[in-house]
Amino acid sequence: MATDKELTDFLKSVEKRAFKRTAYAVREDDSALDIVQDAMIRLADKYADRPAAEFPMLFQRILSNATMDWFRRQKVRNAVLTNLSDFEGADDDGDFDLLETLTSIDGSLGTESASDTVSRDQILRVIEAEVAALPGRQREAFLLRYWEEFDVAETAAVMGCSEGSVKTHCSRAVHALAKALRTKGITP
């Protein structure tokens, strides 16, 4: 059974990422805060007796469900249905594009000079906006896999889909981000 300190430490480590992830989905800070709070309370109410090691998976699952509940309550059916766009379009960007973008971002964010501070903030905001603009399932897979550092199986369990789908979502998300960033001028 997890102690109060373990629960506190876990929530402290995850709360800001959870807020951001939810805000990307619902696009309202107040609603995102309510959803994160709801997820925290649900975790504490129902799973406080579980070992602390189970908290990350449980919390992400609860947070996903709480976000879906919010969408249902808001009756924003279209926002949910945009997930279907995951199945549209083919990836015409090759590996070279990824490398190109990677080099670009390395160059943009790698070393900071005083004169580049404003530009750097703008790049960070652009990246955040592009992540928020991803289709819901792609964004969820990308954030769980790379931000929460879940492996493919864990991400699939949280999302309730197959591991193959997770890989597809992640690949499409990264390619879409690379393409969008190049379009925004983050190129060598």
Binding site: L11, L98, L124, E128, V131
Partner: protein, 150 residues
């Protein structure tokens, strides 16, 4: 002669690019406004308090409750072996419903009897009263008089 590509494979590129993007997201997450981080702190503290309550509630449900009697003695309300309350406690919860149903039946009977009595009183007053002359011109009344008595 074997030619090897100088470019990393797709999965490696994808992971490296994702890592850079996530680094940017981490910077943005760390820089959330003060009011948001305060609201998150309050939410976290509320959640931890709820977890504490939930843990305290769990063992309390499996122990027996002890109530002191009015005479100074102690009456122990023990739970059954499966955590179920004893039969007389379950009956006690059903008793108010039984009393309510019995009360409704009694009220129904009394109301019905009162209605019958009121109708009988009206009939007796009508029968004991003088017959108005207009009644003799009523064909229904004439038919009633001609019909054999039961």
């Amino acid at each position: 002669m074997r030619i090897t590509s100088t470019y990393p494979d797709a999965a490696t590129l994808q992971a490296r690019l994702a890592a850079r993007l996530v680094g940017a997201l981490n910077e943005q997450a760390a820089a959330v406004p003060h009011d948001i981080s305060e609201r998150l702190r309050v939410a976290r503290e509320q959640a931890v308090a709820r977890a504490r309550e939930s843990r305290q509630r769990a063992p309390a449900g499996s122990t027996s409750a002890v109530l002191a009697g009015a005479s100074g003695g102690a009456a122990i309300l023990g739970l059954g072996s499966g955590g179920q309350p004893p039969w007389w406690q379950r009956m006690a919860s059903v008793l108010p419903l039984a009393v309510l149903l019995a009360g409704l039946l009694v009220i129904g009977q009394v109301t019905s009897r009162e209605q019958i009595m009121a109708a009988a009183e009206i009939d007796s007053v009508l029968l004991a009263d003088d017959l108005p002359p207009a009644a003799y011109t009523d064909p229904g009344f004439a038919e009633f008089l001609n019909s054999p008595s039961p």
